[in-house]
């Protein structure tokens, strides 16, 4: 796998940290991905039955994680990390990149985001702040940038494989330009790879019910086809949506498969995935490992706070939680607000 990282990422990280600013430790939370807009959805109740295909195929997965490690008087300090995991010849291997730590302020957020975009993908939104995310969105946006770059690297380096993404194949959102996803999917197809995106959570509903709750009484593994999803422009769906129940446990996930791939190879791709990866609770192990490997633990947050304190002389202090101060035991903390 190509693991050459754009130097810009590291340079920006260090540059942003060198400003002597006080860090204010604050509750750690990840920001959810933007909501999708759903129209006339249909769920085909007839399941597509699957048989595991035990043909040797590389299974690779990408995931990234971000975490806020503290507040400063002028912004936030965040960390981003990504992981590629692949299973080949029965063994799991990984490449983990990061953590990269950024000090993001209102003043530097455009510079940070645009510089990273151009470093990764050769594109940027220009000097206008119109497309620059707000401060709270910055952690996810930077993580998404890293994730797209890792996906690009995988699609370029693997051939005849199954590439698993975390999330959906929806594009056209500010952090996921359609052209960028099309490029990634196109590169993957050229190398005979098939991209499958697993969403842990979905908001898609049919008759008011979540599509992953409408499971027929049938022996898994199977797929249910979902159609009629017409996102509002500029959002574009680059995959076909399925509900996948792949193990006996009563869990199902939304799975998007590159729509440019004909139907039969799509189904075959899921069957190959079943034959090549371990599944627990209907979720592929490769993707689970990618998620686990990039997720930050509390221990790492402490270490990163130690790092910024030691290397950049930032002093960590606790900002008082106004909910607790005002409401005492009835204040659930700002994270709940």
């Amino acid at each position: 796998m190509d693991t050459v990282l754009p130097h810009q990422f590291i340079e920006l990280s260090l540059y942003s940290l060198r400003h002597r600013l006080q860090v204010n430790q604050h509750s750690i939370q990840q920001i959810n991905s933007p909501q999708e807009y759903v129209q006339t959805l249909r769920l085909n109740p007839e399941p597509i039955l699957l048989k595991p295909l035990h043909i040797e195929n590389v299974v690779a997965a990408v995931d990234t994680s971000t975490i806020k490690i503290g507040d400063t008087n002028t912004g936030i300090v965040i960390a981003v990390r990504g992981a590629n995991v692949w299973k080949q010849n029965g063994n799991y291997r990984y490449t983990r990149i990061g953590p990269f730590i950024f000090h993001v302020t209102e003043e530097n957020k455009s510079e940070v985001y645009n510089t990273l975009q151009s470093a990764y993908f050769g594109t940027q939104h220009g000097p206008s702040h119109q497309n620059t995310p707000n401060l709270l969105q910055m952690p996810t946006r930077i993580a998404t940038l890293l994730e797209r770059w890792l996906q690009k690297m995988l699609s370029r380096t693997i051939s005849n494989g199954l590439i698993l993404f975390d999330g959906s194949l929806t594009s056209g959102t500010p952090d996921t330009p359609t052209q960028r996803i099309e490029e990634i999917l196109g590169t993957a197809r050229k190398r005979a790879n098939i991209v499958l995106a697993f969403s842990k959570m979905t908001s898609l509903r049919v008759n008011g019910h979540l599509i992953t709750d409408l499971l027929p009484n049938h022996q898994p593994p199977y797929l249910l086809e979902v159609d009629g999803f017409r996102p509002r422009p500029p959002v574009v769906l680059l995959g076909n949506i399925y509900v996948a129940r792949l193990t006996r446990e009563n869990y199902a996930f939304r799975v998007d498969i590159d729509k440019e791939v004909p139907t039969e190879p799509k189904i075959e791709a899921v069957e190959k995935l079943l034959g090549n990866d371990i599944f627990s609770q209907s979720y592929p192990e490769t993707l689970r490992l990618a998620h686990i490997l990039c997720t930050f633990t509390a221990n790492e947050v402490l270490a990163m706070q130690h790092f910024v304190t030691r290397k950049f002389g930032l002093h960590v202090f606790n900002r008082p939680d106004m909910h607790k101060i005002l409401f005492g035991p009835y204040g659930k903390g700002e994270a709940y607000s």
Partner: protein, 488 residues
Amino acid sequence: MKLYKKEGNVLQVLSFPGETVEKGDYLLVDDSEARKALIVQVIDVQFASIPGVLEELLRSLPDGGELIQGEDIDPLEIAPHITFIQDASLLFCKIRATVENENLSPSSSWLPSRSQSTIKRLPLPTLLKLAKVEGKLPIVLGCTKDSSLLTIDASSLDGRLNIITGKKETGKSHLSKLLMVNLVGYRATVVVFDLNGEYHSLGMTNDGKRNAIYDKIHVLTPSQNFKLALNQLNLHVLLGILIHALHLPGTSAREFRHIWQSLKDRDSLTLHELGETIRNWNCNQQVRDALFSRYHSLVNSGFVTDNIAEATMLEDCLFKAKEQGGAIIINLRNTGSIDRQIVVEYVLGKLVESLTSWKLKAVFLFAEEAHLYLRETYWDDIVTRMRHFGIFTTFITNQPDTIRDNIYRQADNIFLFNFTNEHDLDVVSRAARVDAETVRSIARDLPPHHCLALGKAVRDFPIVTKVKAMDVKTMGETRLFFTNTTTG
């Protein structure tokens, strides 16, 4: 190191990688603003409770249980910081003293500043100097972890009750020999109840040559070079043997007193005459039988003789030792249980007699596995009455539960070797001079030949030391069946 918490007299200190601190080490918690410092001893080292560590460890294991292989690209080099946090340890420390103006006090009633205090290792030589452990009669016990010598003062054993305990083959006898040799060197009188014949070569070097104390070691083996003539015996001592070692009933003892008086009046205090007198004495048949059975026990022990030339004067050895210092080794190795009790009863009786009449000033008594020969009532005697006479006992045992609780509570010094058994640790932890946690935590991890010195000898600062080697012929080795055998 950072001060984290104080609960009772236990201080919790956060320690980071690179600050190598182990159990038994001393730390100085210095609060410069308060102009005071706490001396604390590390009694346990645990991992600091860092959130997320379990997740960190678990995530590297996939379903198969093998470590997942991979590459970490960490351009900012955060990993060392993660390791730094992950490997942080929490030191549980007992507060031993407060230092104020270079004076030590046992107080732990003040709280040093958590943010301002500095914590550093307190080198043992500094501690020993502060505690004034060394004295005019130094005994080098051994080497401490930081390669300094642990030297105690011989006077800290004077008038004291000491216990040397630990499991088998940890070096108890070695330490008792070391103490003994040093005491003899300071012209002290030492009496040893040598159960396994380990001490009779104290006067020889490892290669079998005579050492400096060769002439001061007097080995007495009962019924060989250690025999008594009845006329050397005091009635009080002999009655002690008959009643306590041979369990002679009171009525018979009263009759024996008359027989003894009669023999003494006739100046016929011989074993032969004693037998004849019992045979012809006008008394109840049961009393006669009782007296006869004890008489035969005495005869069969071989410890009592009518041949004056054979008889050894214990007093002579004691007086010789009194003048130049010396050790009287009572070799009980091949002595049966009853005979052993006869001998011990005699020796202790004789010691008390000599001490009460001020013929002797004081005696250091070393008793190995004393429960095998010491009668019940002597335990209390030893810690109370006999101490006042000038018998200063050191018990050596690998079965700590054979020594009574009150002995532990009154022990002035305990030299503790490794114990792993919870029950044994429980027993020893009843000692008054140290807290149970220290005993349990440190003694469990002591390597062989390392001892935890507790009590007055170390001014109540428990110190771990590797007992120094001695150029003395070792006799305490276990006889083995497979030694020098070859397998075919």
